[in-house]
């Protein structure tokens, strides 16, 4: 019984962790290559989910096509954001770029609210409500799909960054944009590519999040939680983001099933799931600010 319960917790943790990992991957990618911490990553997720909802549920487009449309439009939105806003902000102080992304987040939420409203919708996906039964265990198909697709995406990304010319150029730009420029890499294009891929993975994460729960404007909250995954893995490391995301998801899942509902001296733990990610973030920042895989920053005077 206990074994099954633990497997169940780990499974739901993994499916949530895969989403965090995807979002964190976008964070790290954009941060590494452009030096901007994108607080609007969660909002990009939300926009992806809403576009998918629009095509799949409202227009009755086949599910696969609406997913592809959502991903493509989300990626285009990322490129547009870079061209319109962040291309002008390269080298600006941190507070300025953080605030611009926060402002962008409000704009995205407002636009989504204006177009689709602030209600809660459910996406019409072929996975919803279906389960796979293995022995005594029951797995939700949506969660299983999330995990499988995320693993495929992670492998694709690792191959892309290590084997393709474009991926290596992107890595080079992230390492040192000045030198990369001297080597004939178009740095502006690379920044745009980083934003495109970042928005693309956010869109994918948004669609899976919508499958596991609902589509609403509040789902952008996931973005801030994924930030703790990125911090845990080290802001500089793509692999770290994936592992960080999975750890945060699993810890959250354990906290949800073992700690919530407890009471201690007038303090109700309640939905501790929502705060577990931030507790992890504070712990990591206190103990090892550069994360598991990050390098310690060395500053020259």
């Amino acid at each position: 019984m206990i074994m099954e319960k633990i497997i169940d917790i780990i499974f739901s943790g993994l499916s949530m962790g895969a989403i965090y990992a995807l979002v964190a991957l976008g964070f790290v990618l954009i941060f590494k290559s452009t030096g901007i911490l994108n607080f609007a990553q969660g909002e990009l997720c939300m926009v992806g989910a809403f576009i998918c909802y629009y095509f799949a549920t409202l227009l009755n487009v086949p599910y696969l096509i609406s997913i592809l449309m959502a991903i493509a439009l989300g990626a285009m939105l990322g490129a547009l954001i870079d061209v319109l806003i962040f291309r002008r902000l390269v080298g600006e102080p941190i507070y300025a770029t953080i605030m611009v992304t926060i402002g962008l987040a409000s704009i995205l939420v407002a636009l989504t609210g204006l177009i689709w409203g602030h209600d809660t919708y459910s996406i019409r996906s072929p996975f919803i409500g279906k389960t796979i039964v293995a022995g005594k265990m029951v797995f939700a198909q949506a969660s299983l799909a999330t995990i499988v697709v995320s693993i495929v995406l992670f492998i694709l990304f690792i191959v892309f960054f290590n084997r393709s010319l474009l991926g290596v150029a992107l890595k080079g730009t992230a390492e040192d944009s000045d030198t990369a420029g001297l080597m004939g890499i178009n740095v502006k294009k690379m920044h745009m590519l980083a934003w495109t891929i970042g928005a693309l993975v956010a869109g994918v994460a948004g669609i899976f999040l919508a499958e596991q729960s609902f589509v609403h404007t509040g789902m952008s909250h996931t973005g801030i939680k994924a930030m703790s995954a990125a911090i845990l893995g080290g802001m500089e490391s793509l692999g770290g983001a994936i592992i960080g995301g999975i750890i945060v998801g699993v810890v959250e899942s354990f906290a949800a099933s073992y700690l919530s509902g407890l009471e201690m001296g007038g303090f109700h733990f309640g939905d501790i799931k929502d705060v577990a990610a931030f507790a992890i973030m504070i712990l990591v920042l206190m103990i090892r600010p550069h994360g598991i895989f990050g390098k310690k920053e060395v500053e020259r005077v």
Binding site: A96, G103, L114, M227, I282
Partner: protein, 345 residues
């Protein structure tokens, strides 16, 4: 027009630089005294909100604008101030006059604790740490019996002996007095040794330390001071609204405070005031405009939340793209323009 020639250090350090500034100050104070007699309750309530926001924004500007430590958790300190005073006056019956400084000190104490990691964390990581701190505080307020969670908590009226503060006009004088005091303290602080140390740390912390400024002492001091201001603002807000819920001190409040100081101008006292007025005023202006257009476009009022959010975002992005120095930058440019008019330089 006042001259800007200074013969000795005393003149350079003076709080109010010349007769010109002093005259305007007297006019401003007189205006503040007679203003409530011409405004209705709604207009006064906007001014009161602006006054409270000014105090909080000044605190945050001391931290971000002067010391260069980014905090995304200012709302949490405001919450601590509000709840401390609410609990002290409500549960223990302590008079407002004692609970006000205590709520500031309570926030400052937590600010000092949050300030300690700032010795290790820089820039981005500090921003994220304070963000997480804000979420944890909000979570605690939601789930603790003492703070009554999302039911909210009623806060007593401010009373000084037999006299109770009830009307918007009385609140206005009280809040304006505190806002004025806060501006004065901040202005005094930034011209002192402490303020100059803050600025040195902002400009280059390693160089500042090499010059003999204790980073640990001044960074923690900046956090403490900034949270003290936030605590006072929270205490005033709690007693002004007379009802507090954790949801009103969430991340969006912290963002609004950062927006205030960026819009107004980082590292300037005047900028904090201008920013607080602007960011507090914008939602009211939007409501006013939508109200005007209600007859022609009745569907508009359904979108008011989105308008507020979207325009807030557009203003932040626009300011940082086109006028990073904020309102203070515009003010200084106009001033220089008129000073040298008709010449360009």
């Amino acid at each position: 027009m006042g001259s800007s020639f200074k013969v000795n250090y005393k003149e350079d350090m003076a709080l109010f630089q010349n007769l010109w500034v002093k005259t305007w100050l007297v006019i401003l104070i007189l205006l503040m005294i007679i203003l409530p007699f011409f405004l209705n309750r709604y207009q006064l309530s906007i001014l009161n909100e602006m006054g409270i926001a000014t105090i909080g924004a000044l605190g945050l500007n001391l931290l971000i604008g002067y010391t260069g430590q980014i905090s995304l958790g200012h709302g949490a300190f405001v919450a601590i101030g509000a709840y401390t005073s609410g609990l002290l006056t409500g549960k223990l019956g302590i008079p407002f006059i004692i609970s006000l400084p205590l709520s500031g000190l309570m926030a400052a104490l937590l600010g000092l604790i949050v300030g300690i990691p700032s010795l290790r964390l820089k820039g981005l990581y500090l921003a994220l740490g304070t963000l997480a701190f804000g979420f944890v505080i909000e979570y605690i307020l939601f789930h603790w019996d003492l703070t009554q969670g999302d039911l909210g908590m009623a806060v007593k009226r401010i009373s000084l002996g037999q006299f109770q503060i009830k009307t918007q006009k009385q609140y206005f004088y009280l809040i304006a007095a505190f806002a004025f005091l806060a501006v004065l303290c901040a202005k005094n602080l930034v011209r002192s040794k402490i303020g100059r140390s803050f600025i040195a740390i902002r400009d280059r912390d390693i160089a500042a330390e090499a010059m003999g400024i204790s980073l640990a002492k001044y960074k923690i001091m900046a956090f403490g001071l900034s949270s003290f201001y936030a605590g006072i603002a929270g205490c005033l807000a709690a007693h002004y609204n007379r009802w507090i819920v954790p949801g009103s001190f969430d991340i969006s409040l912290s963002i609004a405070y950062i927006a205030m100081i960026i819009m107004g101008g980082l590292g300037t006292v005047l900028g904090s005031v201008l920013g607080a007025i602007l960011i507090t005023g914008i939602p009211h202006a939007i409501v006013y405009i939508v109200d005007l257009l209600k007859d022609t476009y009745p569907a508009l009022s359904g979108f008011i939340v989105d308008f507020k959010l979207g325009i807030f975002g557009i203003i932040i992005v626009g300011t940082l793209l086109f006028e990073p120095a904020g309102l203070y930058g515009i003010y200084r440019r106009t001033k220089v323009y008129w000073k040298t008019w008709p010449f360009k330089y």
